[in-house]
Amino acid sequence: MISRIYVAQESGDSREKILLKSWRELGLSGKPSAVSILDSYILDSDLTKDELDKAGRALANSVVEEYFVNELPTKKKFSYCVEIGFLPGVTDNVGNSARETLQDLLDQDLKVYSSKAFLISGKLGKNDAEKIASSMYNPLIERAYIATGKELAKVKTLPLKAPVVKLAERKPVIKISLNVPDAELEKIGKEGIMDPDGTRRGPLALDLESMKTIRKYFKELGRDPTDVELESLAQTWSEHCKHTIFADPIDEIKDGLYKTYIKGATNLIRQRKGSKDFCVSVFSDNSGAIAFDDEFLITHKVETHNSPSALDPFGGAITGIVGVNRDTMGFGLGAKPVGNVYGFCVGDPADKRPLYRGKNKQQKMLSTKRIMDGVVKGINVGGNCSGIPTVSGFIRYEDRYRGKPLVFAGTVGIIPRKVNGKLSHIKKAEPGDYAVMLGGRVGADGIHGATFSSVTMDSTSPATAVQIGDPITQKKMSDALVKEARGMNLYDSITDNGAGGLSCSVAEMAKESGGVKVDLEKVPLKYPGLRPWETWISESQERMTLAVPKKKWEVFRRLMENRGVEATIVGEFTGGNACQVSYEGKKIMNMDMKFLHDGLPSKKLKTVRHEKKYKEPKLPAGSARTQIFEKLFGTLNLGSFAFISEQYDHEVQGSSVLKPVSGAGRVNTEAQVFRPVLGSPKGAVLSMALYPFYGDISTYHMAGAAIDSAIRSAVCAGGSLSRLALLDNFCWCSSNEPERLGELKDAVKACYDYAVGYETPFISGKDSMFNDFKGYDEKGNPIKISIPPTLLISAIGVMDDISKTVSPEFKSAGDLIFLLGETNDELGAGEYYRMLASEQKKPFRSKLKSDTEVGDAIGNNVPQVNWKTNTKTYRALEKAIAKDLIASAISVSSGGLAIALAKSAVGGMLGCNASVENLPGNADTVDAKLFSESQGRAVVSINPKDAKRFEKIMKENGAHFAKIGVVSKNSGFTIDKAIKTDVKKLHAIYHKFSDSQK
């Protein structure tokens, strides 16, 4: 018997007003006058009336809520009811929590499904109700049910139907003959294995070359592969897992980009640093780790979660952040997550142009605004619910991200150097250990996630690739693992179950012991009917894989059971060199570990370089720049995003030192400091930087600027150049095109040059190579939108004394303002030129791939980094900070000097009086002086009494610097005669967009 319990909030719930407001923007023909929101719980179990009442009381807070059993509240008349629930099989966190509560209460097994119902009054038609529904749900994961008040008055309740997953009975395992013509072989690789009913399963993302290698392997074995084997290979060999583009030889670089430039840089730097090398575990584990102090290591990892976020922004982002938390828990013997970071690259939320994945305007994409709201909310729920402070983040807006948004999610962890007397970053599954799956269960969600993100997104992109994270299941697991099991020495090895699911995590861990045997029928499922290949590769979330010694299993099992965490033995690690998988006693996979991991044929990649030449924008006449400066300060990429920072808990764990927003005027900081070990004077400094628009001119200088900015921001906050490590995240597009590969090669080369120059080693990285959208525009014409090649550089460093932290806002009237570094005429692709270019935009020339959407007058003088000069500046600044001479420091980045001054002023709510007439460097126009984005610069303010000592340090260290002004007593903000405005006005401009999003 199915029942429903409705829980109604007291009327006047603030969410009602917010909803009504958002509906008014939908262009309805009618007018919704009021709405009441109901939480609905479908209970698919036989319960007595008493039990249902008991359940109702447990689900409703009697002070502000009321419950109703099998009957909608009728106090208020309504014209329409819109119900939004999940599609069968989609993670329903609310349903799960309700189930746990009610099972505990009623002491019996239950099935509970949640939904929300909106009872809308006012005059409105069916069309309006449909519009309202579609503004609230995502058909890929949710269902909407619409009924009129009249209809419901008769039946009294919403349908008593449970969204149960029913999978048709299918053959569990099939064999696939690869003795087919090459064309068919290629099709299997591209579109997937054909099921007996004639449908294809979705991309394996294996090219013909790889398929031929597989054919040859099985030919030698004298048998056909099973679907499990093929799917498994596709996961293990996917671009997502193997990073083939970074690994394969490219042009003259035989060892590939990663080994030569990224790892190569780190190896060289570690050598040079000698006894001062702070790297402990780099590139080999789920996160990279450096020394924090004598007792602890600090880890960092930044992931991308782009493809799923385009389809379901909320699910994509929450899965991204909760997933990267597991890269921390999966580091060494399990690190504790102590800080989250995020980054979004999205389209302009005001952009209303629709996009479709299918022909004839089918499969409409979500609007840019909904994508932005969705990804922001995903990190909100994932981070806040997990009790991990969201320390750092950024958002960038550009039209080319509207087809495929980028979502970066990262986690910093902390782990004692030694656990139970053993080095904590070393782990090894031993032959005979149980292979144990921990955490959530396996469902059809997240099938083909790894292969999906290795291809361009189009109409065939699988909806099953979308998952929704469940932070509470993971929190329980994380606590039980890191806070209890680790200290009890209950396992030999641990890793995350991420891309490729068990097929990757188990087979990867098996490398430590030699091999593995798995019995797939033992894997706990969310619902019956999954085929073995689906169980094997599903990316259902919140799971870890562990190697547990047999004699410790019982203690481990009991601990997990007591903490409400499901632990299951799914197999055993062996000393052999085979990956063997059985299902109900039948062997369905038996592959050589060497072929599975190293059999992928390498490709020779070739690149082409093409120089790009752009027009110079027309500059404004005269020297008055107030208006244009204010306009620039109000552009999306330079303004505040406090609306995001302030809805993320950045103070949990009590570690906050330099917050995401700072000062009286709440300016967003470019580096953050936190204190991961309570009681220790040491801190960790984090920063992130990216300049995707520079890549329109040169990806080499784009990469250089990102590295320089990440380092500079960290140093400005109190970090030390000699204690900084870097992480790279490459998000590229069309990476099968030689031009794009040429741009990639340039960028990676710059990573080497600058990392080695600054002696800042890379410790971890990730790439996502096919961020292209292929679909149809508002007229139904085919369109391809590629993201601009985007490189995110994250920096992490250790500070010995958090008391030395410096924030970016001005502190005190009368303080002197200095600019460090040289200002050159480097306005190309900067925010100022981009704004001018978009104003002077010529008809869009679609032929050139590299054309920016702001038009082609972005100039050519892209900022170039001189690490030798900058090193002197940063060392000098470090020394001045160590001597407590710096009252404020801000890195000069996008928008140039004028914008940096404005941010320091707004942050402190103090004006300034500055002159840019005499600046070191070759900038000689007012535009270049104000807005050039030359790297290596910082603006600092200083107590006049300290000025002499400060100048002495600068000179001694050979840093370029100039005194450019003074923090003023009033709120006036002036730069020579060029800019004359007021800090209150600037504050309003800075926060305008952000405040509109609250």
């Binding site: 807070n61 929590s97 505990d104 619910c385 606590d479 007591n562 903490r563 809805q647 330099l658 000062g663």
Partner: protein, 274 residues
């Protein structure tokens, strides 16, 4: 909807069970499990204040219910128990009620102290230990910021505290209840003035930020005192640091100077030392 009813302690005449001697540290149990997540910093706060705090998973007390009687202080820390999925604090409170109602009543009947912070406060109202309820913030969104508070009730937790600034971080903190139960109210103070913020961040009735019960022995509050243990946690510390430097004082180790929140935990320890 039902009327808000305040629950008052009727146990004042109970014999005091202050077995504590001056040199013995009072014991504080800090609960954990199912998504509570501030237990470590809350333990740190109690330990720093001179208590001996243990983090105890709810399932461990359920397995050994007698252990609650070994403690003088019970803390429901902040977090996201059950993800706030069926309403904040509800599911954890249900679990507690289902298994530990008797032990909780016994604990409250003795001369003990209880604190619920943020999610812990939400749990205490759902348990019926404190009156009222916490509803969705008026802007419908989760907020992390600092607030200024005025202590208004009489409670051992509040001794010597008149005004205090602490951080909040919650989505459901709009208090619905009666003025007479208030322990803390939001008030415009130095943080609000500094960052030009609204004094009441979530639309709470009567500006209530914290509530007292059992003659002040039970305190529930949305703001997080355990996140204000040190100077460096305050949004004003950078500005203050400059002032201190300019007054000629040393800024060395300034970040680790004591924060305002510690007093609340010290008060709890003092209570058992009298």
């Amino acid at each position: 909807m039902k009327k808000v009813t305040a629950q008052k302690s009727r146990v004042s005449s109970k014999k005091k069970t202050r077995a504590m001697k001056r040199h013995v540290k009072p014991r504080a149990m800090v609960l954990s499990g199912y998504g509570l997540n501030c237990e470590e910093e809350t333990k740190f706060a109690f330990d720093s204040a001179g208590a001996k705090a243990d983090i105890v998973h709810i399932n461990d007390i359920i397995a050994k219910p007698g252990m609650l009687s070994e403690y003088q202080i019970l803390a429901f820390p902040g977090g996201f128990s059950y993800g706030d999925d069926t309403g904040s604090g509800k599911a954890y409170a249900n679990k507690f009620k289902n298994h530990l109602k008797k032990q909780l009543d016994e604990f409250l009947a003795k001369d003990t102290l209880v604190i619920g912070i943020c999610n812990g406060f939400q749990i205490l109202t759902n348990l019926g230990v404190l009156p009222g309820a916490l509803a969705v913030n008026k802007n419908g969104r989760y907020i992390d910021r600092w607030v200024d508070l005025k202590a208004v009730g009489k409670s051992p937790w509040l001794s010597g505290i008149k005004k205090i600034s602490l951080p909040i971080a919650h989505g459901e903190g709009r208090y619905v209840g009666n003025k007479k139960d208030a322990g803390f109210v939001y008030e415009e103070g130095e943080i609000c003035k500094f960052q030009n913020l609204e004094k009441n961040p979530n639309g709470s009735m009567h500006d209530i930020a914290g509530v007292l019960g059992y003659k002040g022995r039970v305190l529930g509050m949305m703001p997080h005192p355990e996140r204000a243990m040190f100077f460096h946690q305050s949004p004003m510390w950078q500005k203050e640091k400059e002032k201190i430097k300019r007054s000629g004082k040393s800024a060395s180790k300034i970040a680790q100077k004591e924060g305002e929140g510690l007093q609340i935990f010290k008060n709890a320890v003092e209570y058992f030392k009298k």
